[in-house]
Symmetry: C2
Subunit: 592 residues, 2 copies
């Protein structure tokens, strides 16, 4: 049975040593001192280890069931959801006027990570609700906010996002679900939506569906899409429940993983719906939430790698097999523990150096979101807009890769469901797909974000790295171990961007054939940048006489591993990109 312990020291390190949150001049950040965040993280860590983690395998094994139109969640989920609700964990960053605690998004992110590591499928029920909350907060009328936000903040009611239909996912302009205006100002929504996470369940009194649909007579394609609130159970103006709306669950999908979450086919049959925002501006309302939602999915990627890594380490310390090539290390035992073997360490170091870098990257992204929202900082908004596809695409690809690598440490036992390592890989797999498949993230990055606002944001990104290198290169160890490799990685990335500029205009396929490689390359440079900053913070802590010398030394050793063994991937990606579209597009469709 796998276990999970919240990596509180690492979370605190990123918040305080790296981001120095309490020193930032952003509303609400001054309160985030080490003691406060430590106390909060201890609490959520306890909840995650003791309540959520033990339910992870249960959720995988039992899954959700649909009987007579009623969806049941796995044993223990409802009680656990009550505990999460009672602890106030669902509304940490919601504004206080709507029942939240008004904490920064970076703190929501820090609290979210252990819950996602412990039980990703479970956490999605509140995750989707958070998304619905944000959409109504950004675009709802005052009456809609007053009605729905407090109930969504507390997860008394939960939320869903309804985009995909059987024949369209990425290309939502093909959507067929329609919303017909009624005389009373409401709409009748009819159509089928698929892949609806947390689509229905038995843990809340009501489910508030946010549904994209087309109002007949509106513009064709994506420009004619509007967003609606469709409650599962209709209610009066005080929120008292009335009768069932025309919404039903067609079926629960059998998936590769996240079995604990009810992924539903939702059928809308003249269901009563209420427009959010303007007619035909539904995609705009959706896009507002995307930076947050995609950052949340990137977090899922590395959070699964984190819990898989923890278990792989435990197994590598415990399992006795073979002897160290440099001489027996456990003479009392019949064999040495796996961890003595260089290739096991190589594998664990790959995982560790990725996860810690990914955490820093994600928290930094969350901090940029806070800066953008709370300080109305356009530069931060531009930067997080550029980073978002990288956080989502790179961290979920690698998160799955390393969850799989952790499974490998277990040998044959990794393939047996009882040991739990398969689940981490199977659950992590979805994060590469939903909230925009990773190929779409790469397209967004190279086809849209690079050139956004005249390329201002990517220039700012390169400047930021250059400035950081320049300001710190008088520190010899930092320079040779971290800044020099970062400079090389950044140079490779700039060369790729240059290749796109020079060759993408005459044939956009030259750029788009390299989009996926560029996304990975940029991911490596971002993690390299994070490791350089974490190294700087670690050197400073050691110079200042920090108590926990081992901790900071380990950080430096892990960072050096990343710079030496992961960052050089940029060269390979550049080589791929520089070959352009020719070999990618050479074959006729019939020759595949």
């Amino acid at each position: 049975m796998p276990t999970f312990t919240a990596p509180i020291k690492d979370l605190q390190f990123v918040l305080h040593d790296l981001l120095r949150v309490s020193e930032q001049e952003i509303e609400g950040f001054a309160d985030l001192d080490r003691d406060f965040t430590g106390a909060v993280l201890e609490e959520v860590g306890k909840l995650s280890s003791e309540v959520l983690s033990p339910l992870n395998v249960v959720g995988d094994t039992e899954g959700c069931t649909l009987e007579n139109g009623v969806v049941r969640t796995p044993t223990g989920f409802k009680e656990a959801f009550d505990k999460v609700r009672e602890g106030g964990w669902t509304a940490l960053d919601a504004p206080e006027e709507f029942g939240g605690q008004g904490l920064p998004y970076v703190m929501h992110t820090a609290v979210n990570e252990p819950m996602v590591s412990a039980n990703m499928a479970f956490n999605m029920y509140q995750g989707l609700t958070h998304g619905a909350f944000s959409a109504i907060l950004a675009h709802g009328t005052d009456a809609q906010k007053a009605m729905y936000l407090p109930k969504l903040a507390s997860c008394e009611w939960t939320g869903t996002m309804n985009l995909t239909e059987p024949h369209c996912g990425t290309d939502l302009g093909l959507m067929r679900t329609k919303a017909v205006p009624q005389d009373n100002g409401t709409y009748k929504v009819t159509g089928q939506k698929i892949f609806i996470s947390a689509g229905d369940h038995d843990m809340s009194d009501n489910v508030i569906h946010l549904v994209l649909a087309k109002i007949p007579g509106g513009p064709d394609g994506i420009k004619g899409v509007s967003l609606f609130i469709v409650p599962k159970i209709r209610h009066d103006e005080d929120g008292n429940l009335k009768d069932r709306n025309g919404v039903s669950v067609g079926k629960i999908e059998e998936k590769m993983g996240i079995h604990g979450n009810s992924t539903c086919v939702m059928n809308y049959d003249e269901a009563e719906g209420y427009l959010i925002g303007e007619e035909h501006k539904g995609m705009r309302a959706m896009f507002v939430m995307m930076n947050e939602a995609r950052l949340g999915v990137g977090l899922q990627g590395y959070a699964q790698a984190e819990v898989a890594y923890q278990n792989a380490v435990a197994y590598a310390l415990d399992r006795l097999q073979g002897r160290a090539v440099t001489g027996t290390q456990n003479p009392e035992g019949p064999a040495d523990p796996l961890i003595v073997h260089p290739d096991i360490r190589r594998n664990l170091m790959d995982q560790k150096s990725f996860v810690e870098g990914a955490r820093a990257f994600t928290f930094w992204g969350a901090y940029l979101i806070d800066r953008a929202h709370r300080n109305d900082d356009a530069e931060a908004l531009g930067l997080i807009s550029l980073m978002t596809p990288v956080i989502k695409g790179f961290l979920t690809d690698k998160g799955f890769e390393y969850a799989t690598a952790a499974q490998q440490v277990y040998g044959g036992h990794g393939y047996i469901e009882e040991w739990g390592m398969s689940q981490f890989a199977r659950d992590a797999r979805i994060a590469m797909i939903y909230e925009g498949a990773n190929g779409i993230q790469a397209l967004d990055l190279v086809g849209r974000k690079l050139a956004q606002d005249g390329g201002k944001h990517v220039m700012a990104f390169f400047d930021m790295i250059k400035t950081f290198i320049k300001e710190n290169e008088d520190h010899d160890d930092l320079k040779t171990q971290f800044l020099d490799p970062l400079k090389q990685g950044s140079k490779d990335l700039q060369a790729a961007a240059m290749y796109f500029m020079q060759n993408g205009v005459k044939d956009p396929n030259n750029a788009l054939s390299g989009s996926y490689d560029f996304m990975h390359m940029m991911g490596h440079v971002c993690l390299g940048y994070m490791w350089a900053r974490m190294a700087k913070a670690s050197f400073e802590a050691l110079d200042a006489g920090a108590d926990d010398v081992d901790f900071y030394q380990s950080k430096l050793a892990t960072g050096r591993y990343y710079m030496q063994r992961q960052l050089p991937a940029t060269g390979m990606h550049l080589a791929r990109i520089n070959t352009g579209a020719e070999s990618v597009m050479a074959l006729d469709a019939a020759s595949f």
Copy 2:
């Protein structure tokens, strides 16, 4: 529902254009002309598409069940197994004296591939039997051969391999199963074995277990391990079944995939067993089969990628989503097919160029095995011994990677079991683990095979590539498109080998920290070499006025893709290797 079509043209291309099998001076090869192999492959292709492939999802969904000690296979498996048996597919390469057809191993491999693509879990029942057959053929007494080989060749009885115990897999010296000699020359075998593929089932009259066990009083560790035949049901000297032996199924494991195969915990309780080969020389008997078994697992890796690729292509041609960036290509439809998008093609070309290279590599390996066995060719034996961990490790890592990549083409549908893409990835995952986890393959390659016979085989490998380049560099296109990149890849690989030589002696961790990267690097160089040879064959076919110009042009385009976009990975692996052990071994075990 996924489908499968045997890639007969590609199989024929490798057998005839690349390997020119019928021209080889190896016993039995002259019969392998294009018509003969074509007819055989047509037949097995039909069986695979029509009988085995439709049962793949059934096997995954139903799995195997254990009730009152009896294992039942999924619906339809027994009837299909009868068809495979009746068609003579189980004994293609078995000697004729034991009921086989005496065909070369390369032909067995070519026939095996479509069956594995169509239904990997199903194919393992005969695959394990083939392994047991080989062990008895190599080490059994004449009486044992006469008794067991005909029945195993026909799969009237099936076989298993029993190595792993709960506390030991890789380190078999820790084994506890014991075999106590009896006065009548038999042994009483007692102990528990786990992860026994095809451990028991309802498709054959008897199951012949090959069991590793220790004879009390023998040498400690791996040197005291012997190999035994333990039949599920005892039999008389004519093979008539008598009573149940002391063998029972403890349970069927719940696995991530290959549900159609019964992976059993086997309990031996004073079961009657018969020694194969000499006492305490059991590992030697096992190792003889390893080149074949590991090649077979490597084949599983790319064969799953092949079928996943076929389905991804079909989906990419069918699914309409978005418009080509260079202008609408399907103006009649609501959107263009996925295949117009560069990143979808990038993904499909990654898969295609890998699978076709992997097939060539594997068939070449099978041909080396034939040369080694049939011509008693020590050079071929040395080369295949060197290649074996690469075929197993590299092709299964990449096979899983690309089965996962094919799943990604389906977007959300890829995660839903009903579409079948998840199964290909889940099934492919085991191939990285069993028959020696891939980390062990890397250790075997770098720790043993490189230095074997004074490094003779790796030198011969480099010479072979060098000679090929030299002999063909007057062909301009071949040189610039294939030989130059191959030369660079080979140079990187030699630099890595040199690094190991120079740094591995003073600290073996310097070599073993890079073993996994070296295995991948060598895999890329081998596939690059195969592509160069396939390109040469394609140029020659085109020059000779071959009818199917498109086919050979596609081969060249696919090969160019590999050389441009895959082979450059050698540079990254070399960079990782050159950093040695320091960053890999830096942390205390407690700091993980």
